[in-house]
Amino acid sequence: MKIAVTGLNATDNPGPGVPVIRCLKESKEYDFDIIGLFYDSLDPGIYMENICSACYMIPYPSSGLNELFDRLKVIHEKEKFDIIIPTLDSELYGFVKLQDKLAELGIKTFLPTAAQLNIRSKDMLFEFCASNQIKAPKNILAGSVKDIYSISEKFDYPVVIKGIFYDAYIVNNFEEAVSAFHKIRAKWGNPIIVQEYLKGDEFNVVALGDGNGQMIGAVPMRKLYITDKGKGWAGITINDNRLIELSRKVIEKIKWRSGMELEFIKSAETGEYYLLEINPRFPAWTFLAPAAGQNLPVLMIKLMLGEEVIPLTEYTIGTIFVRSSWDLITDIKTFEQIASFGEIKWTK
């Protein structure tokens, strides 16, 4: 079975493509052949050994859906892949819109609906949590600098300034808030989210929902090492049933269909968990899940194929991941092939 996976940007802000592929390759039941889809000819996942049998460049979501579909069609004609797994937040709305056309080509997807994506979007999450008795930090939306002036009326500094898709800055005063607002708006556009800052440790859960309200599996993790970009560079699976039950509640309420990451902060003051974000795809640390006993990407493929899947509840506590930087060496001919033709086939 051939599976196309996006998000090969295994950089210091890593996309989930490579770890999702590693999970698929761990499968003992299936022998998946993986096609990598990339945006940048220097995406490290292209150059990794035993990850993809071929890689193809695809246009950025901002280029428009028609262009993306046409490119996928060309790649499909060559590779005849059966399944596509988009792994980046910014791609998902586009793939949701394209899923019927992809199905006509015989390409399966397992995606949330547009409505489900909207519920968990950063500007709507607080409302969802409030109506479902889930604790979440308060937030307001800022469309202009004028809104930054009102921060001090609603919150005490520090606050968190966040982009709609990516980026977050902790700011301590009005000047820092304005600077963060401009930086994020220039990169990701409006709206900007201003969020109450909670002091505490970060805990994340990787989970899979079947689309009917059932949680198929979930593995909670505490970040052990966080980079200056806020990325977990090491983490450990933990045993706190509250995190599992909160994740189950979210999946049940939204009827989430796909992999996901739930980000929590445990208040240092009260010890309670606050839901910070729901990321609508598997996280970059997904490979920890099969290492702890739950291969969630493979289970997602089984759901896609209509196979019976029994929800998993067990996992090994104390399983640790430590991310590393690793220089990959290539040559100019290989790079030319990738940069000039936007595709490469690796010989086994």
């Binding site: 440790d201 993790m221 505490r222 052990l224 983490g235 450990i236 699976t237 933990i238 045993n239 706190d240 445990k266 506590i317 104390g318």
Partner: protein, 84 residues
Amino acid sequence: MRKYIVPETLAVSDSGFLFLPNTGETFTLNHIGKEIFHLLQNGLNEEEIVQHMLDEYDIDKPSLEKDLSDFIIQLQKYSVIKEE
């Protein structure tokens, strides 16, 4: 005399490595710390631990009581133990 509860899921390895499964935190206890942790696990109260340590080691009681109290405060701070 104060007595403490050590969660059943907690265990300390032979080398003194302590893992808190519900938070993912890890600590390393030295030889004495490990011994006191085992005494707490076995349900001894503070007074009983003091007596045990006085029998085992050449130390004056006030210093021992102070060190034990500091250690217990640290264990409570990191939610390793709770007062009964």
